[in-house]
Symmetry: C2
């Protein structure tokens, strides 16, 4: 007997239980919630981040209109398996995960490292991706780009803390720092099991993958013209981790469907600082 309640997706990030699905060596942890919609929006996370590092205010905004799926990629958070040391292998895992959920087409929101993965997925399986949101990310080395800041990446590899996270992700202004503190506090509102930040060997594997992409070893830069999907490129005005100019280069080199928004008074975490406005911009992009 099917109970009507079983069909109903949970509607908030904080209360959605973690689900698991196993493919080969990897048991993927994921959460699916929001208004049932034709094309789910799949979120791909930043360096070391787990599902618990998405701002619930941002996720819940999207969940009002559509199905939201967050996932820990192989070896991250509550998922098992090895963290790969290339973006290509991370993209492979993410596509396998989408396939095993029987999703034939998704929208992707890739943030930072997640944006690298989203670009790789779009290039390798164009039919899988309807629309693409690239937040705080870059295309790899090319004309006009600036490298990932390795010093800052080293800092980001140390044990995470509220102060450290705010310093890395937010601008050195009162308004942005306050937005960072509010973001951190919202991250603590999850009910039920918590999903740990990546530590140990996996951190080095992710750093290797980031650095390879940055050197253009398997990056999207030479292939940007092949991306036919509409793309929304978004960045903070002063991103210390992946410099803002990379978003500009990305938008300039993508074919005619790339829209660029740069948010004021913000850094890498602009999408959390402006969760309402960014959510509205992204919704306009996804729905029109």
């Amino acid at each position: 007997m099917t109970n009507q309640d079983d069909m109903k997706q949970p509607d908030s990030s904080e209360t959605t239980p973690t689900s698991f699905v196993t493919v080969g060596d990897v048991r993927f942890a994921y959460r699916r919630f929001g208004k049932p919609s034709g094309t789910p929006l799949v979120f791909l996370q930043h360096f070391r981040g787990s599902m618990d590092n998405w701002d619930p205010a941002l996720l819940n905004g999207f969940a009002k209109d559509r199905t939201v799926i967050t996932v820990d990629n192989a070896g991250v958070g509550l998922s098992t398996g090895e963290v790969p040391d290339t973006v290509a292998d991370m993209a492979h895992h993410a596509m396998v995960f989408i396939d095993v959920l029987y999703l034939t087409q998704v929208d992707l929101l890739g943030f930072s490292l997640g944006g690298y993965i989203a670009q790789h997925m779009t290039l390798s399986r164009p039919n899988l991706v309807r629309r693409l949101i690239l937040a705080g990310t870059g295309p790899g080395k090319g004309e006009g780009t600036q490298d990932l800041n390795q010093d800052i990446l080293a800092v980001a590899s140390s044990p995470p803390s509220k102060d450290g996270m705010i310093a890395l992700f937010f601008e050195q202004t009162e308004t942005s720092q306050a937005a960072g503190a509010a973001y951190w506090d919202r991250l603590q509102t999850r009910e039920g099991e918590r999903d740990p930040y990546l530590t140990g060997n996996g951190v080095q594997a992710q750093r290797t993958a980031l650095t390879r992409w940055d050197r253009n070893e398997d990056a999207a830069y030479p292939h940007l013209r092949e991306i036919a999907q509409p793309v929304f490129v978004a960045s903070g005005s002063n991103d210390l981790i992946i410099p803002t100019v990379n978003a500009i280069v990305l938008a300039q080199r993508l074919p005619k469907n790339a829209q660029l928004i740069i948010y004021p008074d913000s850094g890498h975490g602009f999408l959390f600082q402006y969760h309402t406005l960014f959510g509205k911009h992204a919704t306009l992009f996804l729905d029109t």
Copy 2:
């Protein structure tokens, strides 16, 4: 006796009669329509353009939520007086016009030359301006900016035609050219009296003003840090007249409240090509 109907503003750009108000040597022609709102949105027009060169689709979108005011500045279209050859004098005229309507605070949407005027007004009378939208414009000469294209300005000074306007304002793609043709056709839907494009000596005066600004003779570039208002900077991805990079420089140098959006597959006329999306972005900016 006051008739209730006299209090109601017309709601569409095409049917609003032209009003006139005289100050000193200038009889200003203007149109005021839309939902009565606390802070009207005043539109400042591009090189040679009159009120009839605003896309009615764009104006009517804004008019659903707020009072819209379009105006011919001194010597342009249906207004009398001399066209000045400096942006400072154009800004002076526009401020006098706002004063004579007894408006104590307005939002400004300045497009191209109108964006120069809007910046000048904001710097000289900061209390007059609540929020500022700068579309297809630049701050004057400075680090990273590119000059106004003088060859294209010469072309833009010849008699206006549908083909010429589409070539100048829209991108060389099928989609953008089609959007240009649709824009031109919408311009023809005005009922009642028409408002002519600027010809004669006034054209040379506007060119001189544009060129002076571009050389930084009276431009905003050195003063951008003094603008404390929230600003929405918008540009097409490939503006042939005022190169897109000027919008990027503008957003980078404005204080912390400047949001930047660059629209894909478009040129100077991006705000007409994307009248719905740009209107929604601008409304989000004005209302939040």
